[in-house]
Amino acid sequence: MGAFGHYLSAHFATLRLEFWGLLVGGLANGFIYAMVAIGYTLVYGVLRLINFAHSEIFMSGGFASYFVMKAIIGTSVPSGLASVGLVILGILVGGTASAGMALLLERVAYRPLRKRHAPKLAYLISAIGASYFLFNLAGKEFGRYNLSIPSPYINHTVFTIFGANVQMYYIVILIAGVIMFVTLDRIVAKTKLGRSIRAVAQDAETASLMGVNIDRTIALTFIIGGIFGGAGGFLFGLGSGVVYTMGFTPALKAFTAAVLGGIGNLRGAVIGGLILGVAESFSIAFVQAAFIDVVAFAILLLILLFRPTGILGERLGRSA
């Protein structure tokens, strides 16, 4: 066995040892990516454009939930039912704040361009401008250092699977993620709201002939993307704190996840997020933690080179 063989076998040994821990952590991160990726994919589905200000939608939810959690929890240590309630509240606050921010961006940065039939490049510039404005504003108002969200629960190990510790933080994310995505999937497949989004994604003009209000539907996709992004902002902030630049890396990774799953495809965004989260997590066994971010962008480059339509392809229109 050569030197490289030794290198690999040593690292695979680490991987085997830590497998379950890495998997759970990777899935949890993956759900956060997926929550943010939903916003990219929904907006792309109806407008065929990438909302590059989505990182700041994510940040808004992080900050809003930080302030609410700080006001309610302060230095206390909630447990039991109070913890459950606080987590739900955090998700709702983050989701509401980000939905509001998303709606505002749609009105201010996108709708005026849409009404003037502006070229795609104009949207990109508008989004980048809005994004710079917002995160610098946050930096100015809230300081340029990382703020920890007071924890709504005691982050103890809840159980161990095959020797790996599964902490409360991961359980919170996994449960929230599953509930949120199952709900979204049902809404898009079965409700009138979901049908209007799919109709606009497939053929906006014909949707309007059916009585679908296009402007309202577009606003709704921003709101749903905002709710998910804000929930992600809160859950991410619980683990990593909130800071004015917090949106940058998670949003780029979520964008990668959306492209990986097939941009415009809702289930694809979830699958892409989970794959990316787990891939990053497992790569810890092979590269130093500082290089983890490189993994996501290597994946993005590879998909763009070899399968630009992603795993599931583009199909927001479909119910399944």
């Binding site: 009138k192 049908r195 209007s196 799919r198 109709a199 497939q202 053929d203 003009e205 014909t206 949707a207 309007s208 002939l209 059916m210 009585g211 679908v212 209000n213 296009i214 199909r315 229109g317 479909r318 119910s319």
Partner: protein, 238 residues
């Protein structure tokens, strides 16, 4: 009078597609709009469903000024549009496409759904298939069925026979007649002038964004100008 269009002008940016057209449609009629490619027939229908508001002029529907009504409000008014090229939602099933037609309706519409499947048995067979996988004729039936699901009083049809085999065209025209007989007024744009005129009560002939003449369909069918330009050979065999 059901619909009255008064001196309507429609522009696409710098291009004027309709130079002030005036016409009307009476309750219970089938009216056909004839004209060469680019004459402005589709633009006229698009104006009548709010996709392009006229720059000047007036549209009155059942006594109500609808000149600046938005596209998504038209179904509720009672006007449904079967667009050029059918525009089926390709990734929705046949059933979902029909449901889209009833989007603005509240309450149950399963009776109408059953009636559509009775009128178009093939759609019942294909219920669970994606719209994008249907044949052209099936898509046209679906497009008509979808529009009827909104229970319109005025139905706008843009070239319903385009690209279809003669037998399917027969079926489509028979169904258009049935739709009128069941009380829905029809405005139909057709390339297939002979067949359209035999079905219609009246016709308008368009040229370069203007209505150049109009008459009872039976007269147009024998009009020299129409025969020369729009009927060509197609009238011979009849």
């Amino acid at each position: 009078m059901m619909l009255q269009v008064n001196d309507a002008v429609v522009r696409y940016g710098a291009i004027t597609a309709l130079h002030g057209i005036t016409f009307e449609i009476n309750q219970g009629e089938i009216v056909t709009l004839l004209g060469a490619n680019g004459a402005g027939k589709s633009t006229t229908l698009r104006m009548l469903s709010g996709l392009h508001a006229p720059a000047t002029g007036k549209i009155i529907f059942e006594g109500q000024d609808i000149t600046n009504t938005k596209a998504h409000q038209f179904v509720a008014l009672g006007i449904a549009h079967v667009p050029e090229g059918r525009r089926i939602f390709p990734q929705m099933t046949v059933e979902e496409n029909l449901e889209m037609g009833a989007f603005t309706r509240s309450g149950s519409f399963s009776d109408d759904m059953d009636r559509m499947y009775e009128t178009f048995p093939i759609l019942k067979e294909r219920r669970k298939q994606l719209g994008g996988n249907l044949s052209g004729g099936e898509q046209q039936m679906l497009a008509i069925g979808r529009a009827l699901m909104g229970s319109p009083r005025l139905l706008l049809l843009d070239e319903p026979s385009m690209g279809l085999a003669p037998m399917i065209v027969e079926t489509i025209f028979r169904i258009i007649g049935e739709i009128r007989d069941s009380g829905t007024t029809v405005l139909v744009v057709e390339q297939n002038a002979a067949q359209a005129l035999r079905l219609a009560d009246r016709g308008y002939v368009m040229e370069n964004g203007r209505i150049v003449f109009s008459d009872k369909a039976s007269n147009l069918l024998h009009d020299e100008r129409v025969r020369a330009v729009y009927l060509g050979e197609s009238v011979e065999g009849t």
